[in-house]
């Protein structure tokens, strides 16, 4: 019984989840880069080639060597370069449009569909003679006479 408990404790202690539960998780360059912009070029740091971008990458590497987590690296970058270093800007000032405009466009499209779809459906039901069903209905007397006249020209 005691041996089983000891075995269970050993397994638990060696499991990755247990080992990292209390400790901070060191990040990597691949994990950081998607969140970071080159502050002078205004493009993602992954694609940037400039002396300032090189400086940023070297600084991130230093922070990673120091054992910083992703959140700590982002915090240190913001302290040095401001919030513009982050790929996703903070939701304040003009930058709030980054979040508001796409949401508003989607909401407007959805709202438009909600309003227009029932109207289209209503119009279609109200006017059975229109659209694809038009050819299948009976012809009025003047239309029939005109059709006959047209066909007679090909005889």
């Amino acid at each position: 019984m005691r041996r089983a408990a000891l075995y269970a404790l050993t397994v638990l202690a060696l499991s990755p989840a247990f080992a990292t539960a209390g400790a901070k998780q060191r990040t990597s360059m691949q994990a950081v880069l998607p969140y970071v912009m080159c502050v002078t070029c205004g493009i993602p740091l992954t694609d940037a080639q400039s002396p300032q971008a090189d400086q940023e990458r070297a600084y991130i590497q230093q922070l990673i060597y120091r054992g910083d987590t992703l959140a700590q690296v982002k915090g240190a970058l913001v302290a040095e370069y401001g919030t513009q270093v982050l790929a996703l800007p903070p939701a304040s000032g003009f930058d709030v449009t980054v979040y508001v405009v796409p949401a508003a466009v989607v909401a407007a499209l959805f709202g438009g569909l909600l309003v227009l779809l029932p109207r289209w459906r209503r119009n279609r039901n109200r006017d059975p003679g229109s659209g694809a069903g038009a050819a299948t209905g009976p012809l009025s007397a003047p239309d029939a006479a005109r059709l006959d006249a047209d066909l007679a020209r090909y005889d």
Binding site: Q55, E80, F94, V105
Partner: protein
């Protein structure tokens, strides 16, 4: 009438999105208001003179504004450690600082632009700068001067009005001494 509301609404939304894009693009462009005022013979007021910035030193926490040096000539120089042309003109700026300090006429004030504190301090040590330096962390201070490329230098008179602008590297000491002399006169 009802049928027109849909297309009009779509047109309005489209116009709003386009206006937003135009505003965003216009905001990214560099302002040349100071240059135009100078070219027209006016001496424009230096922007952001009362806004405080962190002082670039090893002891963090202190802040200063350009207005601290009001009453003397101020040579505002935007620089960064990653900027090679800034390094090329560093000697001229230090020379100007020594001239101003010797005559008690004013000071050079360096403002680092989108730069790491550690790297900027290392550059100060390497070039032996004796003038004060501030940190423009996000570049918004420089933006008011229309600065988006480095190095750039603005010479302010005693009333903190801009008398000369160099957008790019200063290659001649005479440009600085002439501008300082003009600042002293106005």
């Amino acid at each position: 009438m009802k049928r027109r509301i849909g297309p009009v609404g779509v047109a309005l939304v489209g116009a709003a999105v386009i206006a937003l894009l135009v505003y965003g693009l216009a905001k990214q462009g560099s302002s040349r208001a100071l240059d135009e005022a100078l070219a027209a013979g006016r001496l424009p007021a230096a922007p952001n003179t009362t806004r405080t910035l962190p002082v670039l030193d090893r002891v963090s926490g202190s802040r200063a504004a350009l207005s601290r040096w009001r009453g003397g000539v101020v040579v505002v120089n935007f620089w960064a450690s990653w900027c090679d042309t800034c390094n090329a003109e560093a000697g001229l700026l230090e020379h100007a600082q020594r001239l101003l300090a010797a005559r008690r006429e004013g000071t050079v004030v360096g403002i680092t632009y989108k730069d790491l504190t550690g790297d900027a301090l290392a550059k100060i040590g390497r070039f032996g700068f004796t003038f004060p330096n501030l940190r423009d962390v996000d570049g918004s201070f420089a933006e008011a001067y229309g600065t988006s490329k480095l190095p750039e230098t603005f010479v302010l008179n005693r009333k903190q009005r801009v008398v000369a602008i160099s957008r790019g590297e200063i290659t001649r000491l005479s440009w600085l001494t002439d501008a300082i002399a003009r600042a002293e006169r106005t």
